[in-house]
Symmetry: C2
Subunit: 118 residues, 2 copies
DNA sequence: CCATCTATCTATAATGA
DNA sequence: TTCATTATAGATAGATG
């Protein structure tokens, strides 16, 4: 997301992808830490990256384990459906926003080109 | 992180905290989706926020469940220690960087004030 | 409350060492 | 390859509707 616009697709180039992965993982962990600090939420994350067999955990293994045990012990099913729905809703919203953004950008590019031609 | 500098401490004001939480949660999910798309990593997250009893899951309940089963089935212990260490290392690094940044900013402020006085 | 805007801060792709 | 720098895209606090 900088210098050049990011094309949101799999990064084919191995070294570029690895660099991006490491930077973004760091960024993600920072965001997590911020959310935890600012809003006092409990978070557990497991990331299976392409460069190690072991997953990467946040904030650490023990919290992940206990959080997951807690997660598992919930009654489930109806709640489960709600969560998936909410997640899908959010992702759809994000996707829609990105599409709108790209559209606006494209329009602006066309405008600029047209102006240059006049 | 904008308009005003963010003080990285618990946000006391309830409504501000809630607004911030919602915005940042959305941002975090977007970052996840990007990482998944750009680098093809498997991610599972559970967030216990302050506004619902049920945890918020990403990308969805089923993936979280299966990821955690996979996570649990690992041999553990020695690997566990490494992960915590790596996580702590990363967070320390981030903290150090933030401190450096704040220091530089403070220095700049002092410089500006001194210049104004001359 | 929720959506939109925008000024500003932050994250990060590309580059250089 | 990893570390630091820099220029730009992206995220977001506060304001407004």
């Amino acid at each position: 997301m900088t210098r050049n616009k990011v094309n949101y697709a799999f990064i084919e180039d191995d070294s570029k992808r690895k660099i991006s992965y490491n930077k973004r993982l760091k960024g993600l962990l920072k965001k997590y830490d911020e959310l935890k600090t600012l809003c006092d939420v409990e978070v557990a994350t497991v990331i299976y990256g392409p460069y190690r067999n072991e997953p990467y955990t946040f904030p650490n293994n023990d919290v992940v384990r206990s959080t997951f045990i807690k997660f598992k012990e919930f009654p489930t099913l109806k709640r489960s459906k709600n969560m998936v729905t909410r997640e899908e809703f959010t992702m759809q919203r994000i996707k829609k926003l990105e599409e709108q953004l790209q559209k606006v950008r494209k329009e602006n590019r066309v405008k600029e080109m047209t102006n240059e031609m006049l």
